[in-house]
């Protein structure tokens, strides 16, 4: 919505029909309302899993975008459907400069199966990108690539790291730390020891587990797709931010903000 982000005034919330996109878009809609965006400037659309024919939807997006205001797409399309979606987007002539797409579930791994030419400039929001430059990340990538080669993973020479992998990596280490602290693998004791654990993550920050809600405090990055299937970080938070399991933009969650 900022000038930096393209000053979008209309939003297409496009997702695969399951819990995550539904919930995300519910929060997004509430957030957009709070910023004064009207319902008529929000188009919400869901496709089934594995949907592969995006012709009609893209035509609808174009129509929606042609109403004169700058339009952005927030995509929570999951998995396989992304390839046909982006291919269709490119072929229909919608460039990132016209209608940028911000994806919440497209990462480096997903882009391995995609011809990235038509995607240049589209965006993704994650807590980690492989392109982040810091020693921890370099070591992390190296370790994974070595492992993949050693274990003959198909296409081992082109393996990539991504946010979910980083999250798992962090999670396992924190669990190990908590086990050491609790001196037990008993679930309840480990849970008790989990809160407040910290770990120097490949994302370049030292992450902390929230003491009350056991979510991680993480940085947020926005990256633009590059031709090689990697992301160019174009925006990031200054420091890790606290996770809010109950969105403040949804009515009824006011009492839960401390959680």
């Amino acid at each position: 919505m900022s000038a930096e982000g393209g000053s979008a005034k209309r939003f297409v919330l496009l997702g695969t029909d399951y819990v995550y996109p539904r919930t995300t878009n519910k929060i997004l809609r509430a957030f957009l309302h709070s910023k004064g965006v009207k319902d008529e400037d929000i188009m919400e659309e869901y496709t089934p899993f594995g949907h592969s024919d995006y012709q009609t939807i893209i035509a609808n997006i174009k129509k929606f975008a042609s109403a004169g205001k700058k339009t952005a797409v927030v995509s929570t399309i999951n998995g396989d459907s992304n390839v046909p979606f982006y291919k269709e987007l490119g072929n229909a002539g919608l460039k990132a400069t016209d209608v940028p797409v911000v994806a919440f579930s497209v990462g480096e791994e997903e882009l391995r199966g995609v011809d990235t030419k038509p995607l240049l400039g589209h965006l993704a929001a994650w807590n980690y990108f492989m392109t982040i430059k810091n020693p921890v990340n370099a070591a992390f990538i190296k370790k994974y690539q070595d492992w993949a080669k050693k274990n003959n993973v198909p296409n081992a020479d082109t393996v990539v790291t991504n946010d979910p992998m980083e999250a798992t990596y962090v999670g396992i280490h924190m669990w190990a730390q908590a086990v050491e602290k609790a001196k037990s693998t008993d679930t309840d004791k480990v849970i008790a020891a989990m809160g407040g654990q910290t770990f120097k993550a490949p994302s370049g920050f030292t992450l902390t587990m929230d003491k009350t809600n056991h979510h991680l405090h993480k940085p947020v990055y926005i990256g633009e797709v590059k031709a090689d299937g990697q992301f160019n970080v174009v925006w990031k938070t200054k420091e890790p931010i606290r996770a809010q399991p109950w969105s403040p933009f949804i009515a009824g969650n006011e009492s839960k903000q401390g959680l």
């Binding site: 029909d17 819990v19 089934p48 899993f49």
Partner: protein, 397 residues
């Protein structure tokens, strides 16, 4: 032939059959509960919670297999839509289970969680009454039954049979799966129902509940076997087999095959639904993937492996395939599809009568009497008679 019904029912099965049934009942209702509750975990005869649930699950599958066999083995109609009826039964009972969660869900509201995130403020009309156990039972039987009846009525009335019927049942199931994947449909979309807490107020994870569900599954299987036995030995069963072998002849002697097929088809669907209703509380989840084409076709392979046109065959097949699945997916997950794939091919090519047929061939003292279990129509000819190929096509066309 001129004996009263009850006697006929009793004599419809040889004494050995009744004995086997009694032993099975004893094991399921006394042996397993005792082994699960009383024996310490260290005992070699102890039955773990995992095993009870696994067996309970496979018993439900066995019911589905027998139901499938009634329609495929005895009436020659291969359904690729039984996964749908199974799932509908599961959804019917799942609605009740969801309501039993009450305010224990993650939003703490007296609405299923998925409705909360969809911003629904109240239950949609088709959920009305779903908090009643009895109404849930009605739903379990009535919805799949009505769907099967309506679909079957139109399909059989149009004389759709053979592969055509199989393909449109698959289309039906596929359409239903797409429908249930939608969140707007009101059944939890992709995630379906899960996180069940209790049945009739009792904790669903307690050993007693586990054993009760297991015992009920065993009871349902026995009931289905007895019912099947009665049906196939009755005149109804003979008409059914006659329809399978020569439908036009049956019509010309004055039977309306439509109603016969419709009866067995609807019954089969309802039995599947009952199995589904028992299955869901045992595995703790129901979602639309139960309606995928692969699931329905797998049911057919249970029947084929065991031996179609027999009642015990499908039970054996369900156990063999599902135990193999449990084994492979744990030990060699990458080979499971190879195993299943070759099982499909091998059984159709080399074991047309399944394990039971093999058993009979190997240990036959006397040839199987025809009245007991008419063999399936399409026996592989010793000489591949390719002319049939055309005939079959004509029939399909």
């Amino acid at each position: 032939m001129r004996t009263p019904l009850t006697i006929r029912f009793l004599t419809s099965m040889p004494r050995k059959g009744w004995l086997a049934l009694a032993i099975f009942a004893l094991v399921a209702w006394v042996g397993v509960p005792m082994a699960h509750l009383m024996l310490p975990e260290s005992s070699p005869f102890s039955v773990s919670a995992y095993t009870v649930t696994l067996m309970g699950k496979i018993l439900c599958y066995a019911v589905v297999a027998v139901a499938m066999d009634l329609i495929w083995g005895y009436a020659g109609i291969l359904s690729l839509g039984h996964g749908l009826f199974f799932a509908l039964g599961g959804y019917g009972f799942g609605m009740y289970l969801m309501r039993q969660i009450g305010t224990d869900g993650s939003y703490g509201v007296n609405l299923p969680d998925f409705m909360v995130f969809l911003d629904w403020k109240e239950l949609p009309w088709f959920w009305v009454g779903s908090d009643s156990f009895l109404w849930a039972l009605v739903l379990v039987v009535a919805v799949p039954g009505a769907l099967a009846f309506i679909f079957g009525y139109f399909a059989f009335r149009s004389r759709i049979k053979g592969v055509y019927f199989s393909i449109i049942t698959q289309a039906l199931t596929y359409a239903a799966m797409l429908l249930f994947f939608r969140n707007e449909t009101g059944f939890g979309g992709n995630n379906g129902f899960t996180d069940f807490k209790r049945i009739l107020g009792y904790d669903i994870t307690s050993p007693e509940m586990r054993l009760t569900l297991f015992g009920l599954s065993a009871a349902l299987l026995m009931f289905v076997l007895l019912l099947g036995r009665y049906l196939v030995t009755s005149k109804f069963g003979r008409v059914l087999a006659a329809i399978r072998d020569a439908e036009s002849r049956v019509m010309f002697i004055g039977y309306q095959p439509l109603w016969y097929k419709l009866f067995i088809w609807t019954l089969s669907a309802v039995l599947c639904a009952l199995a589904g209703a028992l299955y869901v509380p045992q595995v703790g989840i129901i979602n639309p993937s139960e309606m995928s084409a692969a699931n329905s076709i797998e049911i057919a392979i249970w029947v084929a492996v065991g031996g179609r046109g027999t009642l015990v065959g499908p039970v054996i097949g369900a156990f063999i395939v599902n135990l193999a699945k449990s084994f492979f997916t744990v030990e060699f997950p990458e080979y499971w599809l190879f195993f299943l794939g070759f099982l499909f091919i091998g059984v159709t090519l080399f074991l047309p009568d399944g394990v039971v047929g093999l058993w009979r061939k190997l240990f036959a003292r006397k040839p199987a009497t025809e009245t007991e279990s008419p063999p399936p129509v399409q026996k592989p000819a010793a000489v591949p008679e390719k002319d049939e190929h055309l005939a079959a096509k004509g029939a399909a066309a």
